[in-house]
């Protein structure tokens, strides 16, 4: 990170890659940068090309979502002053992120070193007491803004994020009460919300009259508490939210689909545990990779839904 304490930047542009944590924090990030008078530049929706470009730069063995992310980063190279890549280690005890999020910022700097592109980060590390607010404060101040300005921008952005989150929660409530076939989708937001990877799944489910409930759209604090019922030593924040979501919603749905991007580290283990523990509800373990064709996924979804409807006597 380049320090520019001497003067306030004018007309600064920051590139935001639309992958990984973007799907969790899009409102917060956009509002924060706009609040500081910084213009966010977006990489655009994921496409086949983004994935291929990303797979070309990223190490072969990384997960599908990381490859997509690198495609987004590549698309922003040279289009902005900084590309924003957050580093999140842990939010607190047993609230870790996958280790990939610790490495992401430095990985980008190394992968794109030859382009001369500058990167910007914020660092959340609960083990050292660095909260999200402190991370944002450091980020804003490193760009030359005063502490007061950054605090104000963060507070406003946080407010907007919370409002958007409440709306999202509210929008799911009627779905839970709806009739017909209801299926709980459990997956990272960067998989399910990705227009190239996850959206075809929700679209297809809608086309066959299935109500899709999202496990991650849940009261997060409650979900963290509930998660220990299914897995007492799970330490990944997002996985725990999903576990909690499953624990809270399982009685209100007809089946669960675990959606995972190949080869997701936490999912490889947590989903294995879930398939061993959730014996009383239909469960589909769907792993998506760069080769997943739409037809193959649709066939599996369709047969899963058929089984559920057959079981309910609705077919």
């Amino acid at each position: 990170m380049i320090l520019m304490r001497d003067r306030r930047p004018e007309g600064l542009t920051v590139g935001i890659p639309q992958g990984l944590l973007y799907h969790r924090y899009s409102v917060l990030w956009s509002a924060f940068f706009k609040g500081l008078g910084i213009t966010p530049v977006y990489s655009g929706p994921t496409s086949r090309k983004v994935l291929e470009e990303g797979a070309g730069v990223e190490v072969d063995e990384t997960c599908l979502s990381a490859k997509i992310y690198m495609g987004h980063v590549k698309a922003l190279i040279g289009r902005c002053d900084y590309i924003f890549v957050p580093r999140v280690d842990t939010f607190g005890h047993f609230r870790d992120m996958c280790v990939r999020f610790q490495a992401l910022y430095d990985q980008c700097r190394n992968l794109f070193r030859s382009t001369g592109q500058k990167f910007l980060t914020y660092n959340v590390d609960g083990e050292f007491g660095i909260t999200e607010e402190m991370a944002f404060l450091e980020l804003g101040q490193s760009l030359g803004f005063s502490k007061g300005e950054v605090k104000k921008a963060y507070a406003a952005a946080k407010k907007e994020e919370q409002r958007a989150w409440r709306e999202k929660l509210k929008a799911q409530e009627p779905l839970l009460k709806a009739g017909g076939t209801k299926i709980l989708l459990s997956g990272h937001s960067y998989v399910l919300d990705d227009p190239y990877v996850g959206k075809p799944i929700t679209d297809f489910l809608r086309s066959i009259d299935v109500t899709a409930i999202r496990a991650d759209v849940v009261n997060r604090e409650l979900a963290l508490k509930k998660s220990v019922e299914l897995s007492p030593t799970c330490k990944w924040e997002v996985s725990r939210e999903l576990l909690g979501g499953i624990a809270l919603y399982r009685d209100q749905v007809d089946g669960i689909i675990l959606v995972s991007a190949f080869p997701c580290g936490p999912d490889a283990m947590v989903n294995e545990l879930l398939t061993r523990k959730l014996k009383d509800i239909p469960l589909l373990n769907l792993v998506l990779d760069a080769q997943s064709g739409a037809a193959g996924v649709e066939t599996r979804l369709e047969s899963f839904v058929d089984i559920i409807r057959l079981k309910k006597g609705a077919l």
Binding site: M1, V99, A103, P266, E272
Partner: protein, 368 residues
């Protein structure tokens, strides 16, 4: 090994404890278990074989990292050998979740056992680890425990130091096998050690042996630095005896990553991060700082090559590869990246190592 059965009171259960095979460290675990507690008998799991890997892989999820499969296989073999209590450690990466999933898998297979999962005791407060010790032995003799811990630490330090010496000299043995025999005697002595004197004696003997055995070592042999993922880089079975293979080609093999350096004395080298500020700003993973620093140190030292060892799907080690690639380019040091899974074959590895050896050897001659 002599277990002081007379000290176990009527009605108190003897714990037949086991920990999966991990390089040669099981001798230290056995020593600690049997000397630190009065009610534990350590069940040594059989040495790792293809069978261990196969049974482990059969019950493991597909794309979990390979050590999970190997360790699970080793736990099953420990149960078959009579263990009734299993211990699984805690860790910063997926290792921290090994315990819970392994327990679930083993219970689903119908095994009955007591499981001590250290992840359950992790509260970020060091004193909570005492609860584990109390659970194993409620009537713990504290002075005895402390002494056993001290001796165990000495054993691990000696083991790491001697192992490091061994791979640096065994490729230049002029006697056709004396170095190897001395090292094996040392290991056997550690596995059967019953006192602090046994440990120190074995250490002194092997150090003497290494000094007196005639070597045929050039002034400037080929030097290769090995780094990588915590389990695979240390466990000779899991890396298909990588270090021995290189040593047999006549290479001086260096490896920093071991228990002594990374667990027991890591604090002493705490300031590694500033030394790699040019390469990375933050910690990238549990062993990343040490590995990046070591790669750089080897390069600056003028070593002839680097080998990065990891198991398939090891996220932290995958993520430092771009950094290592840049170090390799900046310092012009050839780097071989090896990914191990349960399918990796000995012959395939040998071909790659021979090609790597030929390349660094030719390069060295051309540059000198």
């Amino acid at each position: 090994m002599p277990l002081k059965l007379e000290r176990i009171k009527e009605g108190q259960r003897v714990i037949h404890g086991a920990f999966p095979r991990y390089a040669e460290y099981n001798c230290a675990m056995k020593y600690m278990a049997e000397h630190g507690f009065h009610n534990v008998k350590f069940v040594m799991p059989p040495p790792l074989t293809k069978r261990t890997e196969e049974i482990g892989a059969r019950y493991s999820p597909d794309y979990v990292c390979t050590p999970f499969k190997t360790l699970l296989g080793s736990l099953i073999e420990a149960l078959e050998a009579g263990a009734d209590t299993l211990v699984m450690v805690h860790g910063y990466c997926r290792l921290g979740y090994y315990g819970e999933l392994m327990e679930q898998i083993l219970r689903d297979q119908g095994y009955e056992f007591d499981f001590i999962n250290l992840s359950e005791y992790d509260t970020w407060k060091k004193r909570d680890w005492l609860k584990v010790i109390r659970r194993i032995d409620p009537k713990l003799n504290i002075p005895k425990f402390v002494q056993a811990a001290r001796e165990t630490i000495r054993m691990m330090e000696h083991l790491d130091e001697v192992t490091s010496d061994y791979y640096q000299i065994c490729g230049f043995d002029a006697t056709g096998g004396e170095v190897r025999r001395a090292y094996r005697r040392f290991l056997a002595a550690l596995y059967t050690a019953d006192s602090g004197e046994d440990i120190e004696g074995a250490y002194k003997r092997v150090k003497q042996d290494f000094q007196t055995i005639p070597l045929n070592k050039p002034d400037r042999p080929l030097q290769v630095g090995i780094l990588g993922e915590f389990y695979t880089v240390m466990d000779a079975f899991s890396n298909l005896h990588l270090e021995q293979k290189l040593a047999d080609m006549g290479v001086e093999v260096h490896r920093w990553m071991n228990m002594t350096h990374h667990l027991l004395h890591y604090g002493e080298v705490k300031n590694l991060a500033p030394k790699i500020r040019d390469q990375c700003e933050y910690t990238m993973g549990p062993t990343s700082t040490a590995n990046i620093w070591y790669a750089k140190a080897c390069a600056e030292h003028g070593y002839d090559g680097l080998i990065h060892v990891k198991s398939a799907n090891c996220t932290p080690e995958i993520d430092i590869m771009p950094v290592l690639q840049n170090i390799s380019a900046d310092y012009k040091i050839p780097t071989l990246y090896l990914t191990y899974d349960s399918q990796t074959s000995d012959v395939g590895l040998m071909t790659r190592l021979e090609a790597f050896y030929d390349m660094i050897e030719t390069r060295k001659r051309a540059l000198s």
